[in-house]
Symmetry: C2
Subunit: 378 residues, 2 copies
Amino acid sequence: MNPISDNRPTALSEAERLAWLRLIRSENVGPVTFSELLKHAGTAQRALELLPDLARRGGKAGRICSVEDAEAELDAHRRIGARLVGLNEPDYPQHLRHIDGPPPLLSVKGGPSALTRERMMAIVGSRNASLSGRKLAARFAHGLGAEGFSIVSGLARGIDAAAHEAALQTGTIAVFAGGITVLYPPEHDRLLAAVLETGGAVISEMPLGWKPRSRDFPRRNRLISGLSLGVIVIEAAKASGSLHTARYALEQNRDIFAVPGSPLDPRSEGANGLIRQGATLVSTTDDVLEGLDGRLAPTLPFGRQFREDSKAAPLSPSDPDEKLRERVLAALGPTPVDMDELIRFADGDARSVHVVLLELELAGRLERHRGNKISALM
Amino acid sequence: MNPISDNRPTALSEAERLAWLRLIRSENVGPVTFSELLKHAGTAQRALELLPDLARRGGKAGRICSVEDAEAELDAHRRIGARLVGLNEPDYPQHLRHIDGPPPLLSVKGGPSALTRERMMAIVGSRNASLSGRKLAARFAHGLGAEGFSIVSGLARGIDAAAHEAALQTGTIAVFAGGITVLYPPEHDRLLAAVLETGGAVISEMPLGWKPRSRDFPRRNRLISGLSLGVIVIEAAKASGSLHTARYALEQNRDIFAVPGSPLDPRSEGANGLIRQGATLVSTTDDVLEGLDGRLAPTLPFGRQFREDSKAAPLSPSDPDEKLRERVLAALGPTPVDMDELIRFADGDARSVHVVLLELELAGRLERHRGNKISALM
């Protein structure tokens, strides 16, 4: 393979898109598992073929997304003028390629131009924001929009809505925790329509029509930070979703900007706390630009992609041996342990341990955690 | 001399106190010159004797404070129940001994207990503070007072007044830019009385009755920071006096704490700017205590003191030579230059160059700047 052309966007064939969609929509397959499966099986199609065996060896066969269901989802996208964009494709947001566990397929409605910019900035904060918090969100969104930034947020009440609203003329992205057809809160229908009419986009990694569960929100927040060069936090209470987004930003090596507020207002606690922990205090758009500094030079490599390789040696049904599986199972408990530590402890080759873990995950017996950690689901 | 007893407080004799007072009240003698004179002349009394000669060699004899004037100032202090405390004496505030150019004598009224604590904290901010700014000042003053801190401020309107007020029960120090009998603003007469009645103190380095000029305020601010372990800045506008105090705190290696505020309020600009520059963001008393951390262990050395040494070889009228004086004069201009650089350039021994500079200073032809720099007054 040519390593240069390898690092450029390439469109998926329709057969590949279908196989990718089936794989990521199958039970117990998340973005990390997707990538592991592709690595071990060579192609998404082969991974689908191996899935029943792997899951059965892990203890319990999960549901595999059928060709019909995947085709129905592709059709439904087409009908509403939306699409499923693959990680290797040119429309896929460039910074998102660099995070751990990027969604292999993004459900997207709206103009690609706002999505594919180098300059993207997340603005997040409290749903019950004060008037001055909203004003500040609008000021940053407007100022950064004028500097060519797409403004990324979650279309929630308060700060999110103020940021989207102020960025309509320059381009804004709403990231949903559920499917892109599941609007919340309902009164934001006009705002959403305006986002799309003005060249912005709405995106999600979840299937069309998916109703978000509470655990889908932090998962969504990793996309908000992952899409962006940095995250601006305005009026976030202690232990709020915005702080989760900031934590993801930190893990993803994004800049964290926080707008300070009076210690007398509990809504300042989150942002002030972030500043104490090292986030950059920002009062103006210029402060943000200054803080981004080196990041504004467009020198990012292409980033992560999934390589389909039909020549790869796929897993054979014989590996790995039963004893290794037992050792791995014995080593796992409800407390997350480090993957590398587990591999050393299990005393097998890394590839075989990975396969065992894949099997357990597909059987719904294993949970992945941040920082390359795993635990057993008891 | 015993180097240990040397580093313990020692009371001045009344003759010494008189000589010190005459010397520091003489024309063109500031705290740094005072210290230089003592070094070169051995004792304050001898310095007074040499003063006319030195100043004449510099170009112009300045006014020397007479015995009568100094005795009158001592008397006036006694009459109002105040005193002049020397740098080497036990009542002198301990942290102030460590700054560059500590006042050799402090004009003090009030209880010594609040003045001599290890725990002292300055709280400064805007005169036209908001209600929430005042509330925060009171909260910090109250909280730190309960932790045994004396609260230091300038008795101005706004933040200063709120801080003093909240610290009445635990001890507070008002530092004046003019003499301790020159109250400003006049409506703070009851607050000042309360400060003194509750064991607090009012201090100044200026003579009784001295009306403050605008340049006396920054000079006073160096005492506010110098007295304290750290400075808390609340609601300071850009280019305000509180920022000067923070700059002195930085130079004096004190901690700088800043209370954040909304970027929509111009009164937040100063404190937010300090945080951007590295000051510690504080919302609560605990944040301050945490920030002080290592400083709370009472391990400070005694600090600077002025040693009178009657056996020291005083300056002889013959040194330094005329040529050196010319070289130093030629090297000086209105732009401040580094003292060490000047000594190298002038090509004389350091002691002789210092004497020439002392002469020029006493003649009012030289200005000292921070960071060991000097310029000619043209």
